[in-house]
């Protein structure tokens, strides 16, 4: 595009984007969008980071209706706990019990600020933020594993290891939700880990 999107006034930027969407996508794919008015039947639930560079719709070209998508800092899934971080539980509950998704994918990524924050949390546990450090500590087991197994690696490489280990921690945390466990046992649900490296433009997947 000739127009530099970054220089557009914010509202103009949004308007331009919407008009393009409506004209080039919505109106040209009525057969896709008409059924979506009635309901959504996504086969995927996706956890991705809120990082502006890693939208799964862009990277994996998910079309409207395909992926129920949660995005938060460092794509984390806390363990089952009805008293804290229940917003994630609400999303998983809705996706598994109501939408009946077939796959839950947790996608980590390179140069993740949230994981860097996790790796930077002080050893004595003191925090300097209102919410961030408390949130990223969800994946403390990943940090401990990396620090134990890769102590000699430089900090950036430790962060890369942690980005992937944290996905595994989140996948394990998903198993603490009874309805997820049940779905796996009945083979109606699959858990998948993913890692998007935008430095080298590679995408990795694995299954548990």
């Amino acid at each position: 595009m000739e127009i530099n999107m970054q220089e557009m006034e914010p509202v103009e930027r949004m308007k331009s984007g919407f008009e393009h969407f409506k004209k080039e996508i919505y109106e040209k794919k009525q057969e896709v969008f008409d059924p979506l008015k009635e309901g959504q039947v996504p086969k995927f639930m996706v956890f991705a980071c809120a990082d502006s560079r890693v939208c799964p719709s862009v990277v994996l070209n998910f079309q409207p209706g395909e992926a129920f998508t949660v995005r938060n800092i460092a794509n984390m899934v806390p363990p089952y706990d009805q008293t804290k971080y229940g917003g994630v539980g609400a999303a998983v509950e809705y996706a598994v019990l109501h939408l009946k998704v077939e796959n839950i994918v947790v996608i980590g990524h390179s140069r993740c600020g949230g994981i860097k924050g996790l790796m930077s949390v002080k050893d004595d546990g003191t925090t300097s933020t209102d919410f961030i450090e408390d949130w990223v500590k969800i994946c403390m087991p990943a940090r401990e594993k990396v620090k134990a197994e890769h102590a000699v690696l430089p900090f950036p490489d430790q962060c890369t290891k942690c980005e992937k280990e944290a996905v595994n921690v989140s996948l394990e945390n998903l198993l603490t939700y009874p309805f997820v466990k049940e779905g796996l046992e009945k083979k109606t649900l699959k858990l998948i880990g993913g890692y998007y490296d935008f430095v080298n433009c590679e995408f990795e997947t694995w299954e548990i």
């Binding site: 970054q6 914010p10 509202v11 930027r13 308007k15 984007g17 919407f18 393009h20 969407f21 409506k22 109106e27 794919k29 969008f33 008015k37 086969k43 995927f44 809120a50 990082d51 502006s52 560079r53 939208c55 719709s57 862009v58 990277v59 994996l60 070209n61 998910f62 409207p64 209706g65 395909e66 992926a67 998508t69 949660v70 995005r71 938060n72 800092i73 009805q82 971080y85 229940g86 917003g87 994630v88 539980g89 609400a90 998983v92 077939e102 796959n103 919410f131 280990e165 394990e172 699959k190 998948i192 890692y195 080298n200 433009c201 590679e202 995408f203 990795e204 997947t205 694995w206 548990i208």
Partner: protein, 309 residues
């Protein structure tokens, strides 16, 4: 839109695609490597392994896939579509691989300098809070490109107040405002929202608990104002009303965060609400005006409301 069918996916694969300067392979592709899952892979892999590989039609890529437990490799060259042997249907992850390779070809390869710059840092001007609903991805609707919008998605695009305490949305707000220093926060609601419907369906008396109920109650102020303003309307109309009310409720909740209020007062941060109606494909947006020092009258007002259709 390809139907994504349930099929077992190969466990562990890396798509590196092909080095391409003009979209086609000019140098040998890097090998796929399998990341052996650190989790209990063996226990789930008694079934016959189906390995489906896709290679982009034009580049000739060498992709090797090996599975650690079984230790065999296959090497494929040139354009080849491998169908699932048992079902003759496409493996959904083959579809994802295809899309990723296309994304790489159209974006990363075509605009390498921009992506290399993005890899160093992100400087989005927007933070967007949208619903997790599969139909309303803000990147799709508003055409946000990588790097433009730090995006949080949760059930019913709700923003809890600062006093609510720890939440995933609060952590994301803190990062976006204090670290990334975004200039705009946009809360986008939408039509036929299941989360808002759940909020409006809550019974006044104690009910069985669920994660959904415990979360959507964050929007209880919107439910109250909706009942007051539109209680005589049909349930569906009340839900429509609440979808918009909850956006405003979330905007006001944003101002309960001290570091957000400070930046709004300083003119460094703007708060916007928006409503995407996918029934008629319209997009309504407005900006919250906050006049902290206003004597008398309401501190809050709406400005610059417009509807795009």
């Amino acid at each position: 839109m390809a139907a994504l069918l349930r099929a077992p996916l190969f466990s562990g694969s890396v798509i590196s695609g092909c080095e391409a300067s003009d979209g086609f392979a000019t140098t040998p592709a890097r090998d796929l490597k399998i990341s052996g899952s650190p989790l209990r892979l063996g226990g789930t892999r008694n079934e016959r392994v189906r390995i489906s590989l896709f290679i982009a039609a034009k580049p000739s890529c060498i992709i090797r896939a090996s599975k650690d437990s079984f230790g065999f490799t296959r090497e494929l060259r040139e354009s080849e579509h491998i169908l699932d042997e048992k079902d003759q249907v496409l493996d959904p992850f083959k579809e994802m691989k295809c899309r990723f390779l296309e994304f790489k070809r159209q974006n990363f390869v075509e605009d390498r300098i921009h992506y290399q710059s993005l890899a160093q840092r992100q400087e989005p001007k927007f933070m967007v809070i949208a619903c997790a609903d599969s139909r309303v991805c803000p990147s799709s609707i508003l055409g946000f490109h990588p790097g433009e919008a730090f995006t949080v998605r949760n059930v019913a695009n709700l923003v809890p107040s600062f006093q609510h305490g720890a939440s995933e949305t609060s952590a994301a707000l803190e990062f976006a405002v204090n670290s990334l220093e975004v200039e705009n926060i946009l809360v986008v609601g939408h039509s036929r929202c299941g989360g808002i419907q759940a909020l409006m369906s809550l019974k006044d008396e104690a009910d069985s608990r669920s994660f959904i109920k415990d979360w959507v109650i964050v929007g209880k102020t919107a439910r109250l104002t909706t009942k007051a303003a539109a209680g005589n309307l049909s349930f569906e109309m009340q839900c429509r009303h609440c979808e918009k009310e909850s956006i405003n409720s979330s905007l006001l909740n944003l101002l309960t965060y001290p570091w957000i209020e400070k930046r709004v007062n300083e003119g460094k941060l703007s708060l916007h609400g928006a409503y995407y109606n996918f029934i008629d494909c319209t997009f309504e947006k407005w900006t919250l005006l906050y006049r902290k020092a206003l004597e008398g009258g309401s501190k809050y007002a709406i400005k610059n409301r417009s509807v795009w259709s």
